[in-house]
Symmetry: C2
Subunit: 341 residues, 2 copies
């Protein structure tokens, strides 16, 4: 299976490492023999139809700042769109940063991959939050698959759990903590009796929150994930515009004190019922969702099997890369099933 | 698909209800058209090749104490073994009570089902705890499937999560709370500062613990589940004899007080590393495993995706029945894939 890797950051590199170091195992257990035939970073591309040498690519990025500096196969300034349109491959792994306002450039990459008959695995929430219903249609129309397990819960298989573990059952509602940064901030506020601003600054210092924390603390990241879940799991055709969003900036020490009196705490909860909402809510400290630190947690309420909660880290390069691998194996299996029909 | 139901208790009845009430949905979504052609209870059997009337069977059990009292199709005193051997069907649903000492009569039912070419879905831990490696071989030899999702976590898809959600990854170790009764007792001891005996008696009064609580409080039930997980998920060929088992009878109020000082609590933890163990252990109150009440919780430690915890009710008729349905759908899909090969 030939793969084009668009984005050579932590997730892209981790993915390339997994498939390289676990080559033998993946071939034996899944008959999966990936060949990364192109990589694109911000300064250019590197192409080799026989498969690129991953060790060398990791070295080049470290030493020269771009994989396009490769003497033999490098193409400085070659754009991702050019690569997607001109290089033959079965799958595009799109791991560029999320842009929640325009979804670009990821959105164009995905659309062009579809148009040239390539399956897409992405970890980019932007295109999905803004246009998932349209992208699903476009994929169907072009007879290709779109997968995005790494966008929700990083390595924690939150989407797969709903799709694969509850066959014959029906998920009626969902609620969850979908953003690790805000959960870390709220946990610290609760534990140390500090204000939002103090907790945010500490989180930024430790690298848990970004310099511009809007995406996280104002609830947009959680809302994007909620949109992905609503489309994929509950077949709702929604985008981020359909989510009522409230962040955690206004959560006060007093709010947390009030909650504590009832053996509760405050968490930023995303929920899917008739409506989609992201908002700070009081929940019992004994609720399985009441996880601390940077964890993510989701509770599915299903018709027959009852309530189930999945908890795991919501971030991490290697973890997210393992979700990309799962998605590609899923696509491989779907193709095989289809061929046999 | 023709089904023989061995056992007409809460799980058997719940399963029959699900497939009856959700008939249309199951046919549309999964092409699944089940026909229950035989039911066996402790007093006899009822047979009908065209499929039994489930409403009538529920009524008969309530009014006459046995389904074999059916005028038209009833066979009083007909044994389960006779039915399994003589009635044509694709799947046996074996939902008789667990016997951890001899595994009977469930073990004979399963073996005879295999010998007559029938797939088996069971919720009975006895045969699996004592003989899972042998049963797996026997199923393979007879070219049939054995499934048992409901034995671990009832409706919570703990086994499926490991099998279906972590493709391409590798589970290195497992730890979990696999018994709701002991977790309820330990939670009460911790919360109310009461002794084991007081908490046990309260649990018995509320129906959370049985009159003879050995299976639960001495750790055998958790050990049986651990054996099932080790075989199914980690391909270890073990039986309950390979588990080091310690129950919760010796957990004292003082132990819990000591734990509390460290912001910890005591839980009955089953773990799979090099060895299999069930023992009371101190864990942090902030560990996702530290669930209260009758919940079950399992943490998988995988190579790439990190630690993931699944939490849900570990008991319940409808919940367990939903696991039986999932298993049958899984078998159906496996048969379909095999036919296309």
């Amino acid at each position: 299976m030939r793969i084009i890797l668009v984005g050579w950051g932590v997730v892209g590199q981790s993915f390339a490492k997994i498939v390289t170091y676990r080559k033998k195992e993946l071939a034996e257990m899944y008959g999966f023999c990936p060949r990364i035939v192109a990589i694109v970073d911000q300064k250019g591309a590197v192409l080799n139809t026989k498969g690129l040498d991953i060790e060398q690519m990791l070295f080049l990025k470290n030493e020269k700042g771009t994989i396009s500096a490769c003497n033999k196969d490098g193409h400085p300034y070659m754009s991702a769109l050019e690569v997607i349109e001109s290089v033959e491959a079965e799958v595009i792994v799109e791991v560029t940063p999320t842009n929640i306002e325009t979804a670009e450039p990821g959105l164009s990459y995905i659309k062009n991959a579809f148009r040239t008959g390539k399956h897409v695995v992405t970890t980019n929430k932007g295109p999905l939050a803004l246009a998932l219903p349209a992208l699903t249609e476009l994929a169907d129309h072009n007879n290709v698959y779109l997968r995005f397990s790494g966008t929700v819960g990083a390595g924690t298989p939150i989407l797969e759990f709903a799709k694969k573990c509850l066959q014959g059952d029906k998920i009626n509602s969902v609620r969850g903590i979908l953003n690790g940064t805000t959960n870390y901030i709220l946990s610290e506020m609760d534990k140390k009796n500090i204000t939002f601003n103090v907790a945010l600054k500490a989180a930024q210092k430790l690298g848990f929150a970004e310099a511009d924390p809007t995406m996280d603390v104002d609830g947009y990241d959680a809302a994007a994930k909620l949109v992905i879940m609503a489309n994929w799991i509950m077949e709702k055709k929604v985008t981020i515009k359909d989510v009522k969003i409230e962040g955690i900036r206004d959560v006060s020490s007093k709010d947390l004190e009030e909650a504590k009196k009832k053996d509760c705490t405050i968490k930023l909860i995303g929920s899917i019922n008739e409506n989609l909402k992201v908002e700070p809510m009081q929940i019992s400290k004994h609720d399985p969702l009441a996880v601390d630190g940077a964890l993510n947690a989701v509770t599915y309420v299903s018709e027959s099997a009852g309530e189930q909660t999945i908890i795991g880290l919501g971030a991490g390069g290697m973890e997210t890369a393992s979700a990309v691998l799962r998605d590609i194996l899923d696509i491989k299996q779907n193709i095989a099933n289809k061929m046999m029909e």
